[in-house]
Amino acid sequence: MIAIIDYGVGNLFSLCSSLKAIGADAVVTSDPEIIRNADKIILPGVGAFGDAIKKLNDTGLDKIVIEEAKSGKKLMGICLGMQLLFEKSYEYGEHTGLSLLKGSVVPMDGRLPKELKIPHIGWNALHFAKNHPLFKYIKEGDCVYFVHSYYAENCEDSLLATAEYGYELTASVVKDNVAGMQFHPEKSGTVGLKILQAFCEWEDEE
C-alpha cells in the first residue's frame, strides 16, 4: 500500500485517480500509523515552500516522513513535495527543508535568461543523468508536464534527470530510497503513468 501524505496542501484528486488507474493500492492519509505501515510513501505538494514545511512541522508529519525514509522505505516527492526533500529553500525568505537530500531550492527569477517566462509551465523533455528503475518504462526525450517557479540546485549527487529551459533544470532526483519529481507524473499522460507504475514496482537494487 502507498501512503499519500495529506498535510492540507494541494489537490490530490488527480494523483489518487492516476494511481487508481494503474491499479495501485493508495490511500490519502495523515495518520502516522498508516504511514508507518505503508510500503511506500508519496509526498505531494503545491503552493509555497514556507507554508508547506510549516504544515508538515505543525502536524508532526515531518518527523514521520524523515523516520520512514531513514528506515529505508521508498519515498517519492512530487513538485513542491520534491523540493521539501532538500536542505533549504529560498522561496520568500529562507526555510529549512526535510534535509533528506543534499541541495537547495532557488528561484528561477534572476537566474534564467530574461526572455524566458516564469513559471516554467508546459511539457518538456527529460534528459537522463543516469539510469534508474524509476525510468525503466520511459525513454530519454519523453515529455512530462512541469509547473514551477523554483528549482533545486547543488544536488549533483542525487540528480536523475534534467529539462532544458534556459539551462538544464533539475527535473528528477534519487538517492537510495528517496526520489523526487519536479514535474507532475499524474498530469503527464501515459509517460507519467509509466513513472508511477515504476515507482509502485521499485524494489531495493541488488
Binding site: 489537490n11 485517480s17 487508481k20 517566462k117 509551465i121 508546459g122 518538456n124 532544458e164 529551459y165
Partner: protein, 252 residues
C-alpha cells in the same frame, strides 16, 4: 526545450459537448468523457472545458462530468465558464481541474484574480479575454463577445497579469469562426506586453495556420481551437507531425 501546446476546447452544455462534433468511428460523439479520451490519445497537450450552462442543475452535471474526465485523463485540464467567485474556483478545482479560466467574472471584479492567485497560486489562474478591434483599438468584450466594455485590451491584460493571472488566453473576435488564420497582429501585441504564457484562440482553419502562428510569434505558447478539431478537419496527430517537420518543438 519546452514544447508548443495544442489545446482542443470543448463547450459543454447540460452534460454534452456542443458546437457540433463529427467524428468518424465514435458512437457517442457528444460525450465529454469520450472526446477527452480521444483527444488525449491523439496527443492533445491540455484540454479546456467551457461550461456554457446557465442553470444550477446543468452546473452540477458539469462538475460530475469534470470529475469523471479527471479520473480518466491525465493531462492538464482547464475549466472556464461561469467563474465569478472563489467558491467557483473551489468547486471546479475539487473536481480535478488544474487551472481555472476567468473572463466576465474578472471584468466585473478584477480582485477575483488576486484572491484566487493568492489562494491557489498564479499558475492556476488563467485570464481569458475576448478582444475585437473598434476604430483601430483593441477592446475587451464581455458576455461571450456581445458587449463592448470600452476597456483597452492590452492594458487590461497587463493589469490581470499584475493581479496574478499566470496565463492568458487571447480570443480574437475578429478572426474567430472565419478560419482564415490566427490574429497575428493582436497576439503579437499581447506577447510583447506580458511575460506569462499566451494561448492563441480564434481563427484556426488549417495546419498551415498553426505553423504560421508559431513561426511568426516565437513567444506564443499554445494554439487553441474547437470546431476544426471536433469536425476532424485537423487531426492533432497530423498537426503535430507537420509542426515538427517545420522545426517547431512539440510533444509527439
Amino acid at each position: 526545450m519546452i514544447t508548443k501546446r495544442i489545446i482542443p476546447c470543448l463547450d459543454v452544455k447540460d452534460g454534452r459537448v456542443v458546437k457540433g462534433v463529427n467524428f468518424l468511428g465514435l458512437a457517442d460523439v457528444s460525450s465529454p468523457v469520450r472526446l477527452a479520451e480521444y483527444y488525449s490519445e491523439c496527443g492533445a497537450d491540455e484540454l479546456v472545458f467551457y461550461d456554457i450552462t446557465a442553470s444550477y442543475e446543468g452546473r452540477a452535471l458539469f462538475t460530475d462530468i469534470l470529475r469523471e474526465v479527471a479520473s480518466k485523463i491525465f493531462i492538464p485540464l482547464t475549466v472556464g465558464g461561469g467563474i465569478n467567485t472563489i467558491d467557483d474556483f473551489d468547486r471546479v478545482l475539487k473536481c480535478g481541474a488544474d487551472k481555472v479560466s476567468v473572463n466576465s467574472g474578472a471584468i466585473r471584479n478584477p480582485e477575483l484574480i488576486r484572491e484566487a492567485a493568492q489562494k491557489y497560486g498564479n499558475q492556476c489562474v488563467v485570464i481569458s479575454a475576448d478582444i475585437k478591434r473598434v476604430d483601430g483599438v483593441f477592446r475587451v468584450f464581455a458576455k461571450g463577445g456581445r458587449e463592448n466594455t470600452g476597456m483597452e485590451a492590452i492594458s487590461w491584460i497587463k493589469k490581470c497579469v499584475e493581479l496574478g493571472a499566470g496565463e492568458v488566453v487571447v480570443n480574437s473576435i475578429d478572426t474567430d469562426g472565419v478560419k482564415g488564420g490566427f490574429d497575428i497582429e493582436m497576439l503579437r501585441a499581447v506577447c510583447e506586453a506580458v511575460n506569462v504564457p499566451v494561448i492563441a484562440s480564434g481563427g484556426a482553419g488549417s495546419v498551415q495556420h498553426f505553423i504560421d502562428l508559431f513561426k511568426e510569434i516565437p513567444d506564443i505558447d499554445a494554439g487553441l481551437a474547437a470546431s476544426v478539431f471536433h469536425f476532424g478537419e485537423i487531426e492533432i496527430k497530423d498537426l503535430k507531425k507537420e509542426l515538427k517537420a517545420n522545426d517547431i518543438t512539440v510533444r509527439l
